[in-house]
C-alpha cells in the first residue's frame, strides 16, 4: 500500500473511532443502561446525567493522565532507582552523580543566563514594538512581520541564524552578514558559535527573535485596554510621551507583563531544538533540556537523565503553583 493511502486510512480510522466512541457511548447510556421510560424514567434520566460528564471527559482524562500526570511520578521514581540493578531504590545517588558532573553545572549556569536574558529581552522588545506600532498607520503590517518568526520552527531558525553567524577565513568573501560587517569595519572574522561564554548570547538572540512577536501581540492588546481617560488626564496635566508610557501605561499592564514573562520563562526552560541544532551543547553552550537528552539517549543513563528532567520540573513548579492559584481565584 502506498504510504499516503496508508496514512489517510489510519487518519480516517483514528478519527472515526473517536467520533464513534462519543456517539455510541451516549446512545448506550440513554437507550440501554438508563432508558428514559418505564417506571423509573425520572430516576434514570438523573442517573444518566450523573454519568454523562465522565463519558465526555474520559478520553481526555485518560490521555492527560497517561501522557502527563503519570510520567511526572514515573520520572521521579526512575530518578531514584538504578536501571542496571533491576530498578533498585538508590535514594539520591543519581542526583549526587549529576552534581559532580561539570557538564551539569555548565548547563545550570547557561540556563540561569538564558532565564535572565531571554524573558527580559523578549518582553522589553515586545513592549517597545507594541508601543511604537500602536501609533502608526502601517503598524499592523509591521507587527505581522515581526510576529512572523513565531511560525518558524526552532530548527528552521537555527539554520537562518547559522547563515547570519557564518564565518570564512580572512581574505575570502564573508557570506555571514555579521562577519561581513566586522571585516568591512576592518576587524577580523569570528566563528561566533565557538566563542565560549559569548556564544550563549548568540544562541539566545535566536529565541529572543522568535519570542518578541509573542510578547508584542499580547502586550499590544493590553496597551489598547488601558483606559483612555487616564491618558487624557495625563496629557492635560502636561505629561510627555515618555512619562505617559512609563508612569501611566506600564503600571496598568503590569499583570500582563508578568504573564508574558512567565510564559517565556517556561519556553526557555524547555529550550532544546536551538541548542541541539546549532551547537549540540559543545563549546560550553549546554542547557538542561539538551543535557537531559544527552544523558537519556546518548549515554543511555536513565537515572541521571530523569534526575535532570526532575530539575526542570522543579524549576517550573513555582510558575505552576502561581498559575493554578490565579486560575482558582478567577473562577470564584
Amino acid at each position: 500500500m502506498h504510504p499516503a493511502v496508508q496514512g489517510l486510512l489510519t487518519i480516517a480510522i483514528g478519527v472515526s473511532a473517536c467520533i464513534g466512541y462519543f456517539y455510541f457511548s451516549n446512545i448506550l447510556l440513554d437507550k440501554v443502561i438508563f432508558p428514559a421510560r418505564g417506571t423509573h424514567a425520572g430516576r434514570n434520566i438523573n442517573r444518566a446525567n450523573l454519568i454523562r460528564p465522565w463519558l465526555f471527559l474520559f478520553p481526555a482524562l485518560a490521555a492527560l493522565g497517561l501522557y502527563l500526570a503519570y510520567p511526572v511520578v514515573e520520572t521521579l521514581r526512575l530518578s531514584l532507582t538504578d536501571r542496571d540493578m533491576g530498578g533498585a531504590f538508590i535514594g539520591l545517588e543519581n542526583y549526587r552523580k549529576m552534581s559532580i558532573d561539570p557538564k551539569f553545572w555548565e548547563a545550570m549556569r547557561n540556563n540561569a543566563l538564558w532565564l535572565l536574558v531571554v524573558p527580559a529581552a523578549s518582553t522589553a522588545m515586545g513592549l517597545l514594538v507594541a508601543q511604537l506600532t500602536d501609533r502608526i498607520r502601517w503598524g499592523a503590517i509591521a507587527k505581522s512581520l515581526i510576529f512572523m518568526p513565531m511560525a518558524i520552527s526552532f530548527v528552521g531558525a537555527a539554520v537562518i541564524w547559522k547563515l547570519v553567524y557564518d564565518a570564512r577565513p580572512l581574505g575570502t568573501e564573508q557570506i555571514g552578514i555579521l562577519n561581513a560587517i566586522l571585516v568591512a569595519l576592518g576587524g577580523e572574522p569570528h566563528t561566533f558559535l565557538t566563542l565560549p561564554f559569548w556564544n550563549n548570547f548568540f544562541l539566545m538572540v535566536v529565541l529572543i527573535w522568535i519570542q518578541t512577536g509573542f510578547a508584542m501581540v499580547i502586550l499590544s492588546a493590553a496597551l489598547r485596554g488601558v483606559p483612555e481617560e487616564t491618558i487624557e488626564a495625563a496629557i492635560v496635566d502636561g505629561a510627555n510621551p515618555f512619562q505617559i508610557f512609563f508612569k501611566i501605561k506600564i503600571p496598568q499592564i503590569m499583570g500582563t507583563i508578568v504573564v508574558v514573562w512567565t510564559t517565556i520563562t517556561i519556553t526557555v526552560l524547555k529550550v532544546f531544538d536551538i541548542v541541539f541544532a546549532m551547537t549540540n551543547g559543545q563549546w560550553e553552550t549546554q542547557v538542561l533540556a539538551n543535557y537531559m537528552y544527552d544523558k537519556l539517549f546518548r549515554a543511555n543513563d536513565w537515572g541521571v537523565g530523569s534526575a535532570a528532567a526532575m530539575v526542570i520540573m522543579l524549576l517550573v513548579t513555582p510558575i505552576l503553583v502561581w498559575n493554578v492559584y490565579n486560575a482558582r481565584k478567577e473562577m470564584k
Binding site: 496514512g7 489510519t10 478519527v15 473517536c18 467520533i19 456517539y23 450523573l50 454523562r52 460528564p53 465526555f56 471527559l57 481526555a60 490521555a63 497517561l66 502527563l68 503519570y70 510520567p71 511526572v72 514515573e74 520520572t75 511604537l132 506600532t133 501609533r135 502608526i136 502601517w138 509591521a142 505581522s144 512581520l145 515581526i146 512572523m148 518568526p149 513565531m150 511560525a151 520552527s153 530548527v155 528552521g156 539554520v159 537562518i160 547559522k162 547563515l163 547570519v164 568573501e173 557570506i175 552578514i177 499580547i218 492588546a221 491618558i231 496629557i235 504573564v259 508574558v260 524547555k270 532544546f272 541541539f276 528532567a309 526532575m310 517550573v316 510558575i319 505552576l320 498559575n323 482558582r328
Partner: protein, 420 residues
C-alpha cells in the same frame, strides 16, 4: 491617542524610522535564507546573499572565437562575436577589460587594443568584439580577453529540484515532507475532538470535582514534556510486547519480535520473525495528543463558558440531549476557538523535533520528518548552504503560509491562552 490634545507629536518621525529599522532587522535573516535558496553553490560562497540582489562585478577570462571562423572583409581578416555568448555567461556589461593577466584593467569599453602582430581588438560595452588583422589568422585558439563585467542578478530553481525530487539518500526531503503531513494532520484533529467534549463537560455540565479538574488542567499546561520521554517510551514498548503476546508468541530473546503468529495476527498481516518497533505514527499521534490537550481544553473551555447561557438552556427545555446541544450548538459557535487551537497545534507539531526524535524516527529512518532531516543536513553538509537553505525553506514555507492566512485566529488564541 497621544494626539488628543490637538498637537502632532514631534516624535512621529522617530517612531516611523525605529519601526522601519526593527522590521528590517527582524526580516533580514529570513530573507537571507530565502534568497540563498535561489542561488547556486558557487554564487553563495562567492558573495554574501545581500549582494545577489544587485548587479555583480566579476572577473572572467574568455577567448575569442577560433581563427577558423575568420571572414575576409575589404581585404582584412576579421573575427567577430560576443564575449558573453562564448561561455554561457549571464549577459552583462563590460566595465573594463585587458588582454594580459598582469593588466586586466588596461582598456575601457570601446577602446581598441593593439596586439602587435596578432592584430587589433575592439571590445564594446555589450561584449561585442572585433578582431582585425591584415594577414590571415593562424593557430587553433582564440585571443585571450580578461573581462571585468557587471552581471545582473541571476537566480535558479535547481536547488528546489535537488532537494524535493532528486531522491538521493541524504536529501530525502520529499519523503520527509509527506511524513511530516502524516504526523501533523491526525495530531491536530484528534486532540481537538477529545478536548472539545472535555471542555464542554467542564464548562456546562455540573458534577463533583469540576473545579479540581480545571485546576489540574491549568497545572498540566506547564509540565515540561521532557519528563514524559522515558516513561512513555517504556509504555509504548510494553504495549508492543502485549500486542505480540496477544497475536502470537514473542521471541524469547527479543520480546518485540514474533516467534509464531496466531490466526488473528495473520489476518492483520504479521509474519513469524517480524520485529515490531515501539516507534511509529500511532505513538507520535498519541504523544502529541497528550501534550496538546491541556492547552486545547483550557482554550476551548474558556471560550465555551462565555457562550450565551440562554441558548443552551432553551435547547435543554426543548428536550435536546447534551450530545445534541454539543454537536448542534456548541461546536458551530466555538469555531473561532477551535480554529485558534488547530493553528497552534499544527504549528507546534509541524515544527517539533524532540517528540519526533523520541517517539517516531526508528533506525531505518523511513519515518523521518523535515526538522530531523535539516538537523542531519546541518551535521553532514554544514557547508552546503544551497541544500541547507532550500531544505529549511521548504519546511518553513508551510507554517508561514498558514501563519499569514490565519493570523487572526492565531492572535486570538494567544490572547485567550495567556491573558488571565
Amino acid at each position: 491617542m497621544d494626539n488628543i490634545a490637538g498637537k502632532k507629536s514631534s516624535l512621529t518621525w522617530a517612531v516611523h524610522i525605529s519601526v522601519a529599522v526593527l522590521v528590517f532587522l527582524w526580516m533580514f535573516p529570513t530573507v537571507g535564507l530565502l534568497v540563498s535558496s535561489f542561488r547556486s553553490a558557487d554564487q553563495i560562497s562567492g558573495s554574501g546573499w545581500w549582494k545577489a540582489l544587485f548587479p555583480q562585478e566579476q572577473n572572467v577570462m574568455i577567448r575569442t572565437a577560433d581563427p577558423a571562423l575568420q571572414q575576409q572583409i575589404d581585404g582584412a581578416y576579421v573575427i567577430e562575436g560576443n564575449l558573453f555568448e562564448q561561455d554561457g555567461l549571464p549577459i552583462g556589461t563590460v566595465s573594463v577589460w585587458g588582454t594580459s593577466s598582469r593588466d586586466i584593467n588596461a582598456y575601457k569599453p570601446g577602446d581598441t587594443a593593439d596586439l602587435g602582430e596578432d592584430g587589433q581588438l575592439t571590445v564594446t560595452e555589450n561584449g561585442d568584439y572585433t578582431l582585425l588583422k591584415t594577414t590571415e589568422f593562424s593557430g587553433s585558439r582564440g585571443e585571450r580577453v580578461f573581462l571585468t563585467a557587471k552581471t545582473p542578478p541571476t537566480f535558479t530553481l535547481q536547488n528546489y529540484k535537488t532537494v524535493l525530487f532528486s531522491g538521493q539518500a541524504t536529501d530525502k526531503m520529499g519523503k520527509a515532507f509527506l511524513n511530516t503531513f502524516t504526523v501533523t494532520i491526525p495530531a491536530t484533529i484528534i486532540p481537538i475532538l477529545i478536548a472539545a467534549f472535555a471542555a464542554y463537560a467542564l464548562a456546562w455540565m455540573d458534577f463533583p470535582g469540576r473545579a479540581l479538574l480545571i485546576a489540574a488542567v491549568v497545572a498540566l499546561l506547564v509540565v515540561p514534556l521532557q519528563l514524559a520521554l522515558i516513561p512513555l517510551l517504556s509504555f509504548h514498548g510494553a504495549v508492543v510486547e502485549a500486542t505480540i503476546a496477544f497475536l502470537g508468541t514473542p521471541d524469547p530473546d527479543n520480546l518485540r519480535r514474533f516467534a509464531t503468529v496466531n490466526g488473528l495476527g495473520r489476518l492483520l498481516g504479521f509474519e513469524p520473525g517480524e520485529a515490531v518497533s515501539s516507534k511509529g505514527y500511532l505513538g507520535v499521534w498519541m504523544a502529541h495528543t497528550g501534550f496538546g490537550l491541556p492547552l486545547a481544553i483550557y482554550l476551548l473551555r474558556n471560550y465555551m463558558v462565555g457562550l450565551p447561557k440562554d441558548i443552551i438552556e432553551n435547547a435543554r427545555v426543548d428536550g435536546a440531549t447534551d450530545f445534541q446541544i454539543f454537536t448542534k450548538i456548541i461546536l458551530p459557535l466555538s469555531f473561532p476557538a477551535l480554529a485558534s487551537f488547530a493553528i497552534f497545534q499544527f504549528l507546534w507539531t509541524w515544527n517539533d523535533l524532540l517528540v519526533a526524535l523520541v517517539f517516531l524516527i526508528d533506525s531505518s529512518g523511513d519515518t523521518t520528518v523535515m526538522t530531523r532531516q535539516i538537523v542531519e543536513l546541518l551535521g553532514t553538509r554544514g557547508g552546503n548552504w544551497e541544500i541547507l537553505a532550500t531544505a529549511a525553506f521548504v519546511s518553513i514555507a508551510v507554517p508561514l503560509t498558514v501563519f499569514f492566512f490565519m493570523q487572526k485566529y492565531l492572535v486570538r488564541g494567544l490572547l485567550a491562552g495567556s491573558v488571565k
